[in-house]
């Protein structure tokens, strides 16, 4: 319990402290320190859960099981590396006058608050609090996206706010319906919104209501996941916000939203006894993968392109979870992990690249390997990894997803393959041109933060070749929890 409190309290307090001193020079160090603290606390929590099994604390309001503890650990880790990356990145942004002290303060404190909301969303047992923290996560990121106050960033943030607000409102309606269904079984006193309780009685929940609830929840949280056709906020927000924020949006927030969908799916599956939830997810997943692939092929802005790539991968995960079963769920979780790692690594590299080119337009970025060789390699390897090139972990999960799909849903495989092929062609043709070739760009004034990039890539590589047994065990338990 102390561990969990620590995990939640560190970023919350950090956010408050940074709200006061976030504009100082040392603020970025504080930011890194707070994130490191969160990471350590999360590590301890993880160790605790691995040793002692699921944890129910604070009057059952918080719940840590294998499924969410792995996401908590991942969130804390990526949160930390992103903080490390944002140190030189944001310093440069400030030096170039894009960030004023006030904005730096906002940025730092909101960064921690954002982490806090995600961690709450992940660890809460209460579907209502889940909703509240998701909404809070939206609010903090809206501020982060618009931090540059340019016309484009305002527009992106506005769209983000409205679209996600509406989406999340639908999720609230879903939650109410869920409550309605649970109310009758559990009674209003017994915490009818607590997931563990719901999970225990899911077989008795009224199927009609649950089906309806799931529609709202899927569409609501799905908006945040970035499923086509309710993905429209995503590329704008990724492209216009500061790059560290793009990294955590892609790497973490989407995961958290998908996590919420998964929790709901478990309940719905239990109530419905049919495969409705899975089928809906398969449909959305497939649509997202295919549409995103084609969107990808016309991009000019590098961050926007990788945002679409995130949509594609979230679609793939949704598809995998929709398929269900131990292997597909395992693959989905694995894909969640590697996608977070690799995609945030890509955004780190992209961040440095765009800073050294002074633009996000891919036509203008050339020959990175010559100016900043390690940034170039990071971007190239990251891109290859995200495109599903072995031996990186993305391939491992795609292998599992595709093979399971081939067995369970053969008609879907051609679409997936088409999409993967188109995505490969579109992304790689551009990244190769950015990385290779001659250039007249100048190196960065500050040494780029390469450790996060290569740490992520290294982990991604490891997961493709060797998944440690305890991690396997953990994934399998988690997969079982979501109906494997």
């Amino acid at each position: 319990m102390e561990n969990l409190l620590l995990v939640l309290a560190i970023p919350l307090l950090g956010g408050c402290v940074l709200a006061l001193c976030g504009h100082r020079d040392y603020a970025s160090d504080v930011n890194v320190g707070v994130s490191l603290g969160t990471l350590i606390a999360a590590g301890l929590l993880t160790a605790r859960v691995i040793d002692g099994g699921p944890l129910l604390v604070l009057d059952d309001q918080f719940f840590v099981d294998p499924l969410n503890v792995f996401l908590i650990a991942l969130t804390a880790f990526v949160g930390f590396t992103t903080a490390v990356f944002s140190r030189p990145y944001m310093r440069l942004e400030r030096d170039r006058g894009k960030m004023t002290p006030g904005r730096m303060r906002l940025y730092h404190s909101m960064y921690q608050m954002f982490n806090f909301t995600m961690l709450v969303a992940l660890s809460t047992n209460n579907m209502g609090i889940l909703w509240v923290s998701m909404e809070a996560a939206t609010l903090t990121t809206v501020l982060l996206v618009s931090v540059y106050r340019t016309a484009a960033s305002l527009e992106a943030a506005w769209k983000y706010f409205i679209l996600c607000g509406v989406g999340i409102a639908q999720a609230l309606f879903g939650t109410i319906l869920l409550y309605l269904a649970a109310d009758k079984v559990i009674g209003s006193g017994g915490g009818a919104l607590l997931w563990t309780h719901l999970d225990a009685v899911k077989g008795q929940l009224e199927p009609n209501v649950m089906a309806l609830a799931f529609v709202f929840l899927l569409l609501g949280y799905g908006t945040k996941v970035g499923l086509v056709p309710v993905h429209n906020w995503l590329p704008d927000a990724h492209a216009e916000g500061p790059t560290p924020i793009s990294a955590v949006l892609s790497g973490l927030l989407l995961n958290v939203a998908l996590y919420a969908v998964l929790r709901c799916k478990v309940l719905t599956d239990g109530a419905l006894a049919s495969h409705l939830a899975g089928n809906l997810m398969i449909g959305f997943g497939l649509l997202s993968v295919v549409a995103a692939a084609f969107f990808l092929s016309r991009q000019k802005d590098v961050k926007r392109m990788f945002a679409y790539s995130s949509i594609e991968h979230m679609g793939l995960m949704t598809f995998a979870f929709g398929l269900g079963g131990p292997i597909a769920n395992f693959a989905g979780l694995l894909h969640m992990t590697v996608h977070s790692l690799i995609k945030s690594a890509i955004f780190f590299a992209v961040g440095h690249a765009t800073q050294s080119a002074g633009t996000q337009l891919m036509d203008k970025i050339r020959g990175l390997i010559k100016v900043n060789p390690m940034v170039g390699w990071g971007l190239l390897l990251g891109t290859l990894a995200i495109l599903g090139m072995p031996p990186f972990g993305v391939f491992a999960s795609e292998f599992l997803i595709l093979t399971t799909a081939m067995r369970d849903l053969p008609w879907a495989t051609p679409f997936l393959l088409l999409a993967l092929g188109v995505a490969f062609a579109s992304i790689f043709s551009r990244v190769q041109e950015m990385v290779f070739g001659d250039t007249d760009l100048k190196p960065l004034e500050h040494p780029p933060a390469l450790l996060p990039v290569f740490a992520h890539l290294g982990l991604g590589l490891m997961l493709g070749l060797y998944i440690p047994p305890y991690l396997v065990d953990w994934y399998q338990q988690a997969a079982k929890m979501i109906g494997g």
Binding site: W131, A136, I176, A192, L193
Partner: protein, 219 residues
């Protein structure tokens, strides 16, 4: 007395729906804000009646929260906002009003139809209100789609929250308190952020017309 009260909840529900329609068709921002305030007040009244009927004490608190946020704070904020931004004039809608109304009616039918099986199951004393709540949500959604200015869009958004809140109250006698507080807090913070935003948007574009916000797209 009890029966009257139940009927009064139904009456409030009907009023909410009516107000939603009114907002859908309303062109003036100021009137929109008034209608929104009225909707909030109706909601508070309905909540109080339900609380009394079912003897759920926490519903009184949530009624109080609603009163504070939706009837007092947010409308005041909105008033100030439009005063400062000077955007009282008529809003032009993207789809003309009669069509919108027609679609709205279809939506109501659809929502009722959708809620029918649930309403039958519901043990709540006011089971049929769920359909109305859903209809309100959908109508507000429509409103958000059709409005071309930022402020009405936000009002649409808030009105959607009202619908949701009514669903929570009428169908399930309110959510747990923690959640209610959380929701209210979020809505408030959201409003603040929106307010700040609108100033920034106006600063950038000299207008609150969201047609300026169409630069980010695929070409």
């Amino acid at each position: 007395m009890h029966a009257y009260l139940i009927q009064s909840v139904n009456l409030f529900a009907a009023v909410l729906l009516l107000l939603s329609f009114a907002m859908l068709s309303q062109r003036r921002i100021l009137t929109l804000i008034h209608l929104f305030t009225l909707q909030g007040a109706t909601l508070v009244a309905a909540t109080v009646v339900v609380a009394y009927l079912t003897d759920q004490h926490h519903l009184y608190y949530s009624a109080a929260i609603t009163l504070v946020t939706k009837v007092i704070v947010i409308p005041t904020l909105l008033h100030r906002l439009i005063d400062k931004l000077n955007v009282k004039w008529d809003v032009e809608t993207l789809i003309n009003i009669p069509t919108t109304m027609l679609i709205g009616i279809l939506l109501v039918v659809f929502a009722f139809n959708l809620a029918l099986p649930i309403a039958k199951l519901s043990s709540s004393i006011v089971h049929s209100t769920l359909g109305i709540a859903l209809a309100c949500v959908l109508l507000s959604f429509m409103m958000m789609i059709t409005r071309a200015k930022a402020v009405p869009q936000v009002i649409g958004f808030l009105s959607m929250e009202n619908g949701l809140f009514f669903a929570a109250t009428a169908a399930t006698y309110g959510m747990p308190m923690v959640v209610e507080f959380g929701i209210a807090f979020d809505v408030l913070v959201g409003m603040f952020i929106l307010g700040v935003f609108m100033f920034q948007i106006r600063e950038q574009f000299d207008s609150l017309d969201i047609s300026h916000l169409e630069k980010l797209k695929e070409d």
